[in-house]
Amino acid sequence: MAAGHPQVDLDLATLPLFCELTSTELDAVTQEFEEAHAQPGERLLREGFVGTGFYVVVAGEADWLIGGHQVDRTATIIGTPPKPVTLRRGSWFGELTVLFDEPSISDVVALTPMHLLVIAGHELEGFLRRYPKVMFALLKGNARRLRDPERWR
């Protein structure tokens, strides 16, 4: 395997979003998502675009940008000064755009080769209802971002 984009063992049980699931549930969840890859510089979310999906980072890193600038995503919510955020293994993004059915307020741009899981926007609600443990983990994660952006980063 060439350097820079190793074959990734998904090992979803180690991701915060899925760590409460049983092995049987993990098998099922693996099939709910599609696998995706991205190269450095590739945009995964596009500011102002609709129809996105919900992504979970399995490997690699990405920048979260608004108006082309690196920002802390909580800054748009509680008015804190912008701080750079890097999305990495275990991070997720795209859920707000999907759940609000609104254009994305941000770009997410790959910094390194990335391996991701993605689920279509229109399938996210059904997926979360089928897996309430994942919904709760997502709720906790997003609440933590609001309460403690430093820790989240």
Binding site: T24, A28, Q31, H37, G48, V50, G51, P113
Partner: protein
């Protein structure tokens, strides 16, 4: 006796491996662009895959003998998902020409006949029975392709080798059971009167289950995930309507079971198999005692030794990672055509995958890719047809309503017009992913997309002063988007592009 086969070993600008529809379409288009190349194939004739698959004889993609547009016109290919696309009428070999009229899904033989005729009429030369065996890169960046006939040297390699290598998940015991591709060779006679467990719930699993309904005494389809057929998802990659009879049989209690289980292991017994599983929807552990098990667990691209050259993969090592123009992201100069192009998933708008898994989508990929290979490696300048700016709005809405490349690749391919002081230029069919993420002159790219409600709608991507913005148009009755409202909105979007472009339609 001399060997009169074309494309003998030697040096070529491009070498294509594979004589399926992907390789033939690309060769046809490279030939039109005067890019010299060799096309080699281990098969004895075109479309070798269709001699074996689909197992039960008919494709899952349709070709309408009667459409609301003239057979063979550019818009017709919206209604014909299988024919390769010729640039000249005399090269056309529409699948319907070879169909008997009983079904709008062509048989394998009908598909093979159409592809063979396309190759003959289009002058596509193939060296058959020439098997690719090795690949290496020289210090100057060129490639050496080892084959059963000798070595080929090329600046660019294109692999159109299909996606038919059997793939199995790492379930203990699964290596002991036949895969879908094995059943194609053995036939199904040995399954008559048997209890059969089919691992998987995608098209190959439902195809086999559907075919076994009159033969097996009991069918169990099992995988962790519930069934979401194409008529529910709208995705052509989901189990297709013509194969879901077993689902109805299961709902009616007719001897078929479709179960949501995670497989733990498969145990071989003197009388058959025990499939040990755990229900993913709450019923707990279960052991299915059956006579036979078939793994319909998917397929992989046959990449040979390409990983050693740096070709990276994803999707559990089943697909190469690719750029917008289907070049390896990690091994420059190595391209993919045909079904492997689904490794470039496109924009994923509303979760829609590309249509690159089937001929309907990848035939248009090949046409775009031929131009890109010619441009990027051989200095070809694609022609830019001048468009009367006053007619741009009408042209774009015509394209959204009827252009087959756009309809066959929702959100992935688009008609692009650019604008400058000289006016408007038709840049041809573009890869949308590349358009939205690259810079360039003022331009517009229009495509169609399927929204969250399942409705088709046009979407325009407008690049102005280097920034690309998305403009979604609403659905329209009968998918005819040439409405007064759309004309007015589009005219407004075009206003001022490339400076003073008239906005009238």
């Amino acid at each position: 006796m001399s060997d009169e086969r074309p494309c003998p070993p030697g040096e070529y600008p491009v070498v294509i491996v594979g004589s399926g529809p992907g390789g033939l379409q690309l060769s046809y288009d490279l030939r039109r662009l005067k890019i010299k190349h060799a096309l080699i194939s281990k098969d004895i004739g075109p479309a070798g895959m269709f001699r074996r698959f689909p197992m039960f004889g008919r494709l899952i993609t349709c070709s309408r003998p009667h459409a609301i547009v003239e057979c063979g016109c550019p818009a017709y290919f919206r209604y014909d998902w299988n024919s390769l696309v010729a640039n000249q009428t005399e090269h056309q070999a529409l699948v319907t020409e070879f169909m008997d009229g009983d079904n709008y899904f062509p048989s394998r033989a009908e598909m093979e006949a159409s592809i063979t005729a396309f190759a003959e009429r289009g002058g596509v030369e193939v060296r058959y029975e020439c098997e690719w065996t090795s690949t290496r890169r020289e210090d100057d960046g060129s490639f050496v392709l080892g084959t059963s006939d000798g070595e080929y040297r090329a600046k660019v390699l294109v692999f159109a080798v299909g996606m038919i290598e059997p793939w199995r998940p790492p379930t203990p015991g699964i290596e002991e059971v036949p895969h879908y591709v094995d059943i194609a060779a053995t036939g199904i006679d040995y399954l008559k009167g048997k209890k059969v467990f089919i691992i998987g719930k995608r098209n190959s699993a439902f195809e086999i289950a559907n075919g076994l309904l009159p033969h097996a005494c009991q069918l169990i389809l099992g995988s962790p995930h519930g069934v979401r057929p194409s008529i529910a998802t709208g995705f052509p990659t989901a189990p297709r309507a013509r194969y879901v009879q077993p689902l109805e049989d299961a709902r009616f209690g007719g001897g078929t079971f479709v179960v949501d289980v995670a497989l733990e292991r498969i145990e071989r017994t003197p009388d058959g198999y025990i499939v040990h599983a755990d229900g993913t929807t709450g019923l707990g552990k279960v052991a299915f005692e059956v006579d036979e098990v078939i793994a319909c667990t998917g397929f992989a691209t046959g990449l040979g030794d390409l990983r050693k050259l740096g070709v990276e993969t994803f999707y559990k090592d089943r697909l190469p990672t690719q750029t917008p123009y289907w070049e390896s992201t990690s091994a420059a100069g190595i391209y993919f055509a045909g079904a492997a192009t689904q490794g470039q998933a496109g924009m994923r708008k509303y979760g829609w995958p590309s249509h690159s898994a089937s001929v309907s989508g990848f035939r248009f990929n090949a046409k775009v890719q031929a131009i890109e290979i010619a441009r990027a490696h051989f200095g070809y300048e694609p022609p830019r047809r001048r468009i009367d700016p006053a007619k741009a709005v009408g042209y774009l809405l015509d394209q959204a309503t009827s252009e087959a490349a756009i309809w066959s690749q929702h959100s992935n391919l688009a008609r692009q017009l650019s604008f400058d002081e000289a006016g408007a230029h038709d840049e041809g069919i573009s890869v949308l992913l590349d358009f939205v993420d690259s810079s360039g002159p003022d331009a517009i790219a229009i495509t169609v997309e399927t929204n969250l409600s399942g409705d088709l709608q046009p979407c325009a991507y407008v690049r102005r002063d280097g920034n690309v913005r998305e403009q979604v148009f609403g659905p329209a009755w009968m998918n005819d988007f040439r409405t007064d409202e759309n004309r007015a909105r589009l005219a407004e979007l075009l206003r001022g592009l490339g400076q003073n472009v008239p906005a009238a339609s």
